[in-house]
């Protein structure tokens, strides 16, 4: 623990360069295995057919870096270990690109962790141009794997190239009050939540501002929205945190239906957080208070819930963001367990190991 405290205390001083890439010399390593063979957990329980399977957790750089070989160990006796190790401190949001790189927004660490699962490499994004990140709360990737980060203290949204180079800020005309979740649809349009403005801001594929989203309707205002996701048809799902529901909008901003309402039983929410969709269009919603994610169909019917309070596999402590990649792998930011948990959605009829 004292060591961890030490990083916490000094990290903002340490992370001074835009992207610190270390261990770039690791070559021809086996990609990380996204499966913990020692854990066999599925939901629902047998005899029902399994739909969700636990894969593994990722707790920090030590899970990503490959085992050092003998040569490296000997070299390090002379040079010392030159890897900068920043643990996950408050992992709040997660996203991955098509090349097996996951990005984790860490609010109190003030960095975005970049874990390359194929190259087994770790780096950190701590600055955007001249500005040091303060409270990165959301990460998202566009179709070209450009990275977007929203910072809820700087009240800015930054764009980076996939190599980590800072490109620019995305700014609505009146600025952000407090940006939150970001989603990119299949047309490359970006939706950015503004929690305190009770609205989302839409940017087109060229990052030009397209206006507010959704349409403001009396009685249907968002109340402190937090997270957002889109489906293949262009529908937009917004976590309406203080209305304790997820609202589904058509691409043109018309309210289609609500998913969930306030309560403490299956199908209801107390602190709805991250939202994501699998390849069959099921809607996954994390709840920090319920310590689970619940899965709904597009009509808002509850299909299943996964998780309870705790620190073992499949258990959560105040989880926040969720991301589902194009292989139906589900990444959940298990915030106060300081880890990412990875699950697999098992499509009906598909072959599984």
């Amino acid at each position: 623990m004292p060591e961890r405290k030490k990083y916490c205390h000094t990290v903002r001083l340490v992370v001074v360069c835009c992207v610190v890439v270390l261990c770039s010399a690791c070559s021809s390593v086996e990609p990380i295995l996204l499966r913990d063979q020692s854990v066999n957990l599925v939901w629902p329980q047998p005899p029902d057919p399994p739909r969700i399977k636990y894969l593994r957790d990722v707790k920090g750089p030590e899970d990503i870096y490959p085992e050092k070989n003998k040569f490296q160990k000997i070299t390090e006796m002379v040079t010392g270990d030159n890897r900068l190790i920043l643990e996950l401190l408050t992992p709040y949001s997660v996203a991955s690109n098509s090349k097996g790189v996951i990005y984790i927004a860490d609010t109190t660490m003030g960095v975005v962790h970049r874990y390359d699962l194929v190259e087994r490499d770790v780096s950190y994004i701590g600055r955007a141009g001249d500005e040091q990140l303060s409270s990165p709360v959301a990460v998202a990737l566009d179709l070209e794997d450009n990275l977007y980060i929203s910072d809820s203290v700087l009240n800015k949204v930054f764009k980076f190239k996939k190599d980590g180079e800072f490109v620019k800020e995305l700014t609505p005309p009146a600025g952000f009050k407090r940006p939150g979740g970001i989603a990119v649809n299949s047309a490359g349009e970006k939706f950015v939540v503004d929690a305190l403005a009770d609205i989302l801001h839409k940017f087109n594929a060229n990052d030009l501002y397209e206006g507010e989203f959704p349409q403001r309707l009396p009685g249907e205002e968002l109340n402190t929205p937090s997270f957002v996701a889109t489906d293949r048809s262009g529908n937009v799902y917004v976590t309406d945190a203080m209305n304790f529901t997820v609202k589904k909008y058509s691409a043109d901003g018309k309210l289609m239906n609500r998913i969930g309402e306030v309560g403490d039983v299956p199908g209801t929410f107390a602190r709805p957080k991250g939202v994501a969709l699998d390849s069959d269009g099921h809607v996954y919603v994390v709840d920090a208070n319920h310590n689970n994610f619940q899965i709904f169909n597009g009509e808002g019917q509850l299909l299943l819930y996964v998780g309870s309070n705790g620190e073992r596999p499949g258990e959560f402590s105040l989880p926040s963001g969720i991301f589902i990649d194009n292989q139906d792998r589900i990444f959940v930011a298990d915030t106060f367990n300081r880890r990412i948990q990875v699950f697999q959605y098992l499509r009906a009829g598909a072959k599984h190991e």
Binding site: C8, T108, D264, P266
Partner: protein, 269 residues
């Protein structure tokens, strides 16, 4: 007689001043003057952020005060279509502040626990709080010393509070107290159990956010900054104690209720 009236008048005046000065902040249920930031309902007044007034039936809970923190029990769960055998579960372990959770054994799993989870589930950096309160658990330093009108010995200061904020969700019982008192570096700080009635541990003898903060009503009367850049910000936000009618003294009193604070780096470990 005149003297008596004058005496009574002065007494009344002093009493009036005293009650005005020592008045706590707005109650969470105050819908006349409003001003309590934790009342997120549409009926609140004099706050920057609140729910929109209800228009349709579905928005009715916008007028409720408790709902934003305390989850109502909802007795009719949706049937889970993929797991039909288990439709009657209840989540929301911390949905009610009246739940008694006793987890003092060594087997309890990590912080935060108890009511602190309710605070942290909103104070996450997006829904509430520009700086996520996770910093408290992660020992990050938040420097409150700049433009701050709390100037007492217990002021959070990056130099003094070396490893940041105060931890929460730990059991503070005889065993813990004895262990701290036995620590040579802490032995001089006179650690003890809190004696101010408002400074409370929870039912499981755990120090929580609510040990120092009263989320329903700020008890410290000197409660608003008057000078830029903090105009309107609460001093000693939602503080649990206001006996001294002065934010600095109220703040110090709560901290010093459990231990002294040396002027050097603290804690020393």
């Amino acid at each position: 007689m005149n003297n008596l009236i004058r005496f009574a008048g002065v007494t009344l005046l002093l009493w009036g001043i005293a009650t005005t000065v020592s008045a706590a902040g707005p109650k969470i249920s105050d819908l006349v003057t409003g001003g309590n930031k934790h009342n997120l309902s549409s009926l609140n007044k004099n706050v920057t952020y609140q729910a929109q007034p209800p228009v349709a039936y579905e928005d009715e809970h916008n007028t409720e005060i408790c709902i934003f923190c305390h989850t109502p029990h909802r007795a009719a769960p949706q049937t889970t279509l993929w797991n039909r055998s288990n439709p009657s579960a209840t989540f929301g372990r911390y949905s009610s502040s009246t739940l008694i959770i006793r987890r003092t054994s060594a087997a309890q799993f990590g912080e935060p626990n108890g009511s602190s989870r309710l605070c942290l589930s909103c104070h996450d950096g997006v829904t509430a709080g520009g700086v996520s309160l996770g910093a408290i658990l992660n020992h990050q330093t938040i420097n409150m010393g700049v433009n701050d009108r709390i100037t007492g010995i217990a002021l959070f200061d990056a130099n003094k509070i070396k490893f940041g904020h105060h931890p929460v969700s730990f059991v503070y019982d005889n065993a813990v107290l004895n262990a701290i008192q036995a620590d040579p570096e802490k032995a001089t700080q006179n650690y003890r159990f809190p004696s101010i009635p408002q400074v409370k541990l929870d039912v499981a003898k755990r120090m929580q956010c609510t040990t120092c903060h009263n989320p329903h009503q700020n008890q410290s009367s000197e409660d608003t900054y008057l000078t830029p850049p903090n105009v309107g910000r609460k001093i000693a936000p939602f503080w649990v104690y206001g006996g001294a009618a002065n934010a600095t003294s109220d703040h110090d009193a709560v901290c010093l209720d459990c231990h002294n604070i040396p002027t050097t780096s603290f804690p020393l470990q």
